[in-house]
Amino acid sequence: MAGSIPASASAEPVRRPHVGPWKEAWRRFRKHRLAVVSAAVLLLLILGVLLGPLFWTLPIDEIDFAATLQGPTLAHPLGTDDLGQDLLARVLYGGRISLAVGFTAMLVAVGLGILVGSTAGMAGGRTDAGLMWLTDLFLSLPQLPLLLLIIYLFRASLTEVVGTELGVFILVVSVIGAFNWMPVARLVRAQFLSLREKEFVEAARALGASRRRLVLRHILPNALGPVIVAATIDIAAAIIAESTLSFLGLGFPPDIPTWGRLLFDAKDNLDFAPHWALAPGIAIFLTVVSINFVGDGLRDALDPRRVL
């Protein structure tokens, strides 16, 4: 056939391997060195507090006056406190509580934030204005005094129902969560406002997608990037808030060694037994810093418009 151009192999469409959005995100995330290192550190910390007590079986409250305020030794790798209690065991145990509080409080905050933000963003009009007023109201409340007040008011009644540890856990988590949802709500609302006018959403609407499908299937997944970043910051904030409460002697009962409580106990001995404060202090520091870096990495990874 004259004039016809023979089909050549090179003209075949390029068969690039299909890369899903998550894989792509992971590729981008890997480019952020600090984030990867931080993720490893965080993973190590989480595994440590989860599995550590299985291997390090010294009890957290074994009093031994023969070994008070010792620096790190083989028997006590992180040293002991003034009652001779093993600090490694206490830091591991405390980490479980501190991390659990951090992650759960984050879930509460993000859940509330998404609910309020997406409702406001989709509904618009009066509902939007009202919800944003509410957000502003919560933002203007002084967090710590309110926290103290709520714990003081409800601690007794709640611990009666579910027991002390769980009661304080629920209280601390819900209170911290209830005071950290506002930034998330604002972010989500802003995302919704811009996304709902985008062409792909209009296309979906033109195809007859229901409102609920629009939100769940098209808008929300695209709005999640900034939310995940905000969530990581919330975890750090919650861990610090719990530490503050324990430090003030208001969180968990005094015999439960959360990281904040360990710091509180250690502070009087800071100048002659610094190892006591260092272990929980470093643990809080590492957790918060690594979570923040991971959040940073995630922001880069999840923003499709950003060129890496």
Binding site: P254, D255, D265, D268
Partner: protein
């Protein structure tokens, strides 16, 4: 010591063959403290229990003022400035800045006249021969801060105010059973129904702080708490009121019309409240930000290290204070007529003497002394530890987990699947509360571990000190309410005589909703036998018999194990090296604040 010997010696003092000082020395050798000895002489008419030269350190400054600012740190902040309502040392001390009693207790246990012209004695006709009336002569020319003259009417008013049940004053115990008569404008007579060996209670020291009649007369009884002057005191003290933020700080300034010459030395005074004991110690000993820090309940090891900085010193004054545990006699988890821990209930577990005995065996007092309190807390088995004459020789403390286990086994408290003992649906799981304070949290941890090994679960609770020790009626976490199974704190002995100290286990002092939890019997210990012993001691003029009565009372509460004494607490405070505080073991820190000065 035999009664006869004592009488002989007193006779020698009266005849003049033995000096008063010699008498006191001999008494001291026999274990009778100076306060008791001087009171003995006072009662038997040989000498006034008045302060002698040397009871109070000499005051050096030769003019009033010019000393700059005095900054005192109380890590428990005051919440009230009415001495008749302030439960707790902080409130008593804060109001003492402005209000003064007729006399205060010097550290050697003698009475030092403040608003009185002299201390009553048989010699000056102040004490009647039958021991039933005391006549106080008041100092003339004393003015309240607003310029009104202080007179006998004020003294009588304070009695009427405090004894009125509707006022619900914490001081009511000192005034209820006496009668007060105005003789003339500067003389007041206190009448007792029975001969009273211990008469120096009404109008003396903390309970004797005088509030002005002309400002409080419309606020007697039910509306006593509405008086604006409860928070803006007008007193006679060396410093005048400037401002007060309850729970935070108190400011005062020099009173130019103060009735004692050349006093005070400082121009302004600030009492800052809040924080914690260790930071307070640091603020004086390490950084020198404050001049004086009160009641340093801090591990001794820390204090010793801080002292090495060389800025200040630690003052240890041995008194009668004691750190102890109370086992609630009532049920904190049941409400009767809207009241928790009502005296109509019984504690479901602690009503069994075996449980209480086990609890007493489970605290290792030796470890507390050795590893936590050091100089600031020798272990003790007694509630009444000073003066030595009143110390019971009959009690011992012991730490034995094994014995506790045996006692509980024998009493039928069997271990459940979780290792916690129970009997008839009552589990040995107790809420153990105290204030936020490092040594107390250590003690809690030590107690909890030992209890765990005996099948008892202690749930630890720590309440911020400014809440725990506040007089706030609306707060459920205050120590006076004791809405927990057990609690631990330090109680102070306000005078060199145990009468007012031991009244805290009499049934009429129970802390209940009806008296706004102002009663002193916080553990709500009730025993007819104890009440009878106490009343007997109140009227017993024979000092030896009286001492034995108090020893029996001590043994009763200690052996009941509702009260578990832990360690004695001498007052430990810190002051800068150049400050000369006048401290007393038998009165509040502020008792003679006007005499404090700085050496430059």
């Amino acid at each position: 010591m035999m009664e006869d010997d004592l009488r002989q010696m007193i006779g020698r003092v009266q005849r003049g063959t033995l000096s008063r000082r010699g008498f006191v020395k001999r008494m001291a050798a026999l274990g009778i403290t100076a306060p008791m000895a001087t009171q003995l002489l006072a009662i038997t008419g040989a000498a006034p229990a008045a302060a002698q030269s040397g009871s109070v350190p000499a005051y050096a400054p030769s003019r009033r003022g010019g000393g700059g600012a005095l900054k005192i740190l109380y890590w428990q902040a005051a919440t009230l400035l009415n001495p008749h309502f302030g439960s707790g040392t902080t409130n008593n001390d804060a109001s003492r800045v402005f209000y003064e009693p007729l006399a205060g207790w010097a550290t050697d246990g003698t009475l030092f006249p403040i608003l009185a012209a002299e201390i009553p004695s048989t010699d000056n006709g102040g004490i009647s021969a039958d021991g039933r009336t005391i006549t106080w002569k008041l100092k003339r020319g004393v003015k309240w801060h607003d310029g009104v003259e202080f007179s006998a009417d004020d003294v009588v008013f304070n009695w009427e105010y405090a004894k009125n049940p509707a006022t619900a004053a914490v001081t009511s115990g000192s005034y209820r059973d006496v009668n007060v008569v105005k003789v003339d404008d500067y003389t007041v007579r206190v009448e007792f129904a029975q001969p009273s060996p211990f008469w120096a209670d009404a109008f003396v020291a903390a309970a004797g702080q005088m509030i002005p009649k002309h400002l409080f007369k419309d606020f007697v009884g039910a509306n006593a708490r509405d008086a604006p002057t409860n928070l803006r005191p007008v007193g006679t003290g060396a410093y005048k009121f400037v401002s007060f933020a309850p729970g935070d700080n108190l400011r005062a300034e020099l009173n130019p019309n103060y009735h004692r010459e050349n006093r005070p030395y400082f121009d302004t005074l600030e009492i800052k409240g809040g924080g914690d004991a260790a930071s307070a110690a640091r603020a004086v000993l390490q950084t020198g930000d404050y001049d004086y820090a009160w009641s340093l309940q801090v591990e001794d090891a820390i204090l010793k290290r801080l002292e090495e900085a060389g800025k200040g010193r630690v003052n240890i004054v041995d008194g009668g204070s004691i750190e102890f545990v109370q086992l609630n006699t009532t049920d904190p988890n049941r409400e009767v007529d809207g009241e928790r821990s009502s005296i109509k209930t019984e504690h479901p577990a602690f009503r069994d003497p075996a449980v209480r005995q086990a609890m007493a065996l489970l605290i290792d007092r030796g470890a507390l002394e050795q590893h936590i309190y050091g100089r600031g807390g020798p272990a003790t088995a007694n509630f009444l530890n000073n003066p030595p004459r009143f110390v019971s020789p009959n009690t011992r403390w012991e730490f034995s987990i094994q014995k506790a286990n045996e006692i509980l086994d024998r009493a039928g408290w069997a271990r459940g699947r979780d290792g916690i003992r129970a009997k008839d649906n009552v589990r040995l799981k107790f809420v153990f509360q105290t204030s936020v304070n490092a040594p107390r949290q250590r003690t809690q941890a030590i107690y909890k571990q030992a209890a765990q090994r005996a099948g008892i679960d202690l749930e630890l609770k720590s309440v911020t000190a400014s809440v725990f020790f506040s007089s706030d009626v609306a707060n459920p976490d205050t120590y006076v309410k004791l809405f927990a199974d057990m609690q631990m704190y330090t109680t102070t002995m306000p005078q060199a005589d145990p009468e007012r100290f031991m009244n805290q286990y009499t049934s009429w002092e129970c802390s209940t909703k009806a008296n706004n939890w102002q009663g002193r019997n916080i553990v709500r210990f009730r025993s007819e036998e104890y009440d009878a012993l106490f009343r007997q001691a109140q009227g017993e003029l024979d000092p030896v018999k009286r001492a034995s009565l108090f020893i029996r009372m001590n043994d009763m509460v200690v052996n009941s194990n509702y009260i578990i004494p832990l360690v004695k607490r001498p007052t430990v405070s810190a002051s800068l090296n150049n400050l000369n505080p006048v401290l007393s073991a038998w009165d509040g820190t502020i008792w003679l604040l006007g005499d404090w000065y700085r050496t430059t």
